[in-house]
Amino acid sequence: MAAAPATTPDIYLDWAASTPMRADAIQAMVAAANEGFGNPTGSHHQARTARRLVDDARDLVADAVGAEPSEVIFCGSGTEADNLAVFGAYHRLAQNVNNPSVACAAVEHHAVLHPVKHLGGTVVDVGQDGLIDLDQVRSIANADLAVLSVMLVNNETGVIQPLEPLREILDEHAPQALLHTDAVQAFPWIDVSAAAGCADLISLSGHKFGGPKGVGALIVRDRTRIAAQVLGGGQEFELRSGTHNVAGIAAFGVAAERMHNERAETVGRVARLRDSLVDALRAEIPDLVESAVGAMHPHGLSDRTNKAAGSAHVCFPGIESEALLFLLERQGLSASAASSCASGAQDPSHVLAAMGWSRELAAGSLRLSLGFGTTEDDVTQAAKIVPKAVHQLRASTSIPKPQVA
């Protein structure tokens, strides 16, 4: 093993997995934990203080996504928001029709995919560009469809899915269907108020944009069209029960406001860093494959305008992600591949499989995800560390290189 450098750097390029909390979000969290200890549903001043902290955050989130405060349903995670969207829409429509259907894209996060499969729903194909097959959507859009869930930005590839065409199909063929979008990965990079303005349900997660873990939100345009899934005191507009995570919600609101206000500047800066990183990697490793870009895009699109600014998703033929990630971490670079399973092992990517990648090619994927705190130095160092590790593995590995289309 190559000796670690005298001072191993600590480069974090896994912002799509989670982000460090913003200092002002931490401050808000600590302050709310101190001042807002009362139960927000009570009637005394301690309760009112807590309630105000929650509702202040609700205003901030509403402004950040172009919603009304009463449309913001706080919950415990992005996953819970996704579950509420799918199960909530299904069970609400089930009050009116027998056996409603649900559907999602094949590249959805497991938080959507598993609920949809649990309900026997339809998983709609995507193309090599990662975009949902609109003809298939048309074929399943009918009066019994309760919800179509399609994520705005994919967590592995960073591909941005335009929602307007889906809205048009649902409006025409599936009047009862709600359009849900998991915007957990999108929010740091995309103005959700515009891109998801046509969605009925939008999922958010605090820890993807400098907020805390354990707080999510579902934006619900019309509360009469979904049914609550966590039953109890009905704290969140009767749609979600459980005493509010006051400190977490307060920090979520602060982080959301900050991300929204700084987004335009962050996107411009980070996109340039991302492009320079991928270009530098390609210069060192010419057979690098980039998902949904260039040769892997049906129309050869190469400017990455189809991807979120922080996403650098590449694959090195003949390399195994787990081995690569191990070497990268030993050299001070933290990244990831596909989603991790409960044990922490890397699972084969269902996203790349859905985009038509062979299992062998997908096995060598690497997700370098940048965020609001990523610096030029991070990218410069990563551009040195990654090729070195790839070359080391290629020198030792006996795995045959898969053919790239």
Binding site: M1, F326, R330, A342, S343, A345, P348, S396
Partner: protein, 346 residues
């Protein structure tokens, strides 16, 4: 040295990692995720990954999980099913050691620049005059695992470490307790790790292959019983043969899947003067003949035998070995080779 320690979440590998760290090695703990199906024990369950991770946390070493699920399915599960389908009695733990722990993991460790791979197996490395190493029995004979690691070559043995092989199991547990490990009293894994306790071998195999019925015949060829699944019958078996009760004890002495017959006999019919072996692997590469010891099950007794090529002649008649089972050859307490029992060659 840079040592990758395979950590299953059990007490042995947890203590192995601790001993390596104490010896001054740069240790990284690795748990292999091998089986995606239901499992509640062995190497494959999420709770065992937790145990391994927490042991690594306690002793201050990094812990990683490697997913070798595809390899495990291809190299362990599939052969396990096809062997049963052919009426043989495979040992999947040996196949896992052969193709996963000491092939796939060793290869991964090499690629990542590690000097050695360590496990918590109870075996010892025995230095030879020529500088090479051989696989020797554990200090704790009751826990000896040399049988299931017999396939390791001289080249393999040069880059593996077995830190607990010199210790008794009681000592291992004491060290774990002294370190404050939660797994100090965790029970030993016993069964096949990929078959959950809520299912059976029959159910597991039944989802992956079809069974055929067979007549049970005595040595004169008379039909005396019936089984529904000839593929699940093993030489030496006494129960589940559909026999009329009351007679003297009878054992299965032969299983013929193609002919759909199971032959039974009395104790003396079960004995044989020899066992034929396929796929022999010799530790040092070259075949060895002579008066040695041979062992036919993981915790069986090593019996004296004359080994001649692919045939092991017992000094005293010994119970027949089910085809598919492993026969390991020892010189005193040192493994010299091993292979897989086959049907008698005429």
């Amino acid at each position: 040295m840079q040592v990758m320690c395979a950590m299953s979440g059990g007490v042995d590998s947890s203590v192995a990692a601790a001993l390596l760290r104490d010896a001054g090695h740069d240790v990284v703990g690795v748990t292999m995720k091998l089986w995606g199906g239901p499992s509640d024990k062995g190497c494959c369950s999420v709770s065992d990954v937790l145990d391994a991770r927490r042991a690594a946390d306690l002793i201050g070493v990094d812990h990683h999980v490697f997913n070798f699920g595809d390899d495990f399915t291809r190299d362990v599960i599939t052969p396990y099913v096809t062997e049963h389908q052919a009426g043989r009695t495979p040992n999947p733990c040996i196949e896992c050691n052969r193709s996963i722990k000491f092939a796939r993991l060793l290869e991964r460790a090499d690629a990542l620049g590690f000097d050695a791979v360590a496990t918590g197996h109870h075996v010892r490395l025995v230095d030879q005059p020529d500088g090479t190493k051989r696989l020797g029995r554990a200090a704790d004979m009751a826990k000896d695992q040399s049988y299931v690691l017999h396939m390791l070559s001289v080249e393999d043995l040069d880059r593996v470490l077995f830190p607990v092989g010199e210790m008794t199991k009681a000592d291992v547990r004491q060290v774990a307790a002294d370190l404050g490990m939660r797994v100090a009293a965790k029970p030993d894994s016993q069964d096949v790790c990929f078959i959950a306790s809520t299912t059976s071998r029959q159910e597991f195999l039944g989802d992956r292959m079809s069974f055929t019925p067979a007549d049970v015949i005595d040595r004169e060829g008379k039909v005396v019983g019936h089984v529904e699944s000839v593929q699940l019958v093993t030489i030496g078996q006494r129960k589940g043969l559909g026999l009329q009760g009351g007679g003297p004890p009878q054992w299965v002495t032969d299983v013929d899947v193609a002919g759909q017959t199971v032959t039974i006999g009395n104790r003396s019919d079960l004995l044989s003067a020899f066992v034929d072996v396929d796929e022999m692997v010799w530790t040092g590469g070259a075949a060895i003949s002579g008066d040695l010891l041979a062992q036919t099950s993981a915790h069986g007794t090593a019996r004296s035998a004359h080994v001649d090529g692919n045939r092991v002649h017992w000094s005293e008649p010994n119970e027949r070995v089910a085809p598919g089972q492993t026969v390991v050859v020892y010189h005193d307490d040192v493994v010299v080779g091993g292979g897989i029992a086959c049907r008698d060659r005429d």
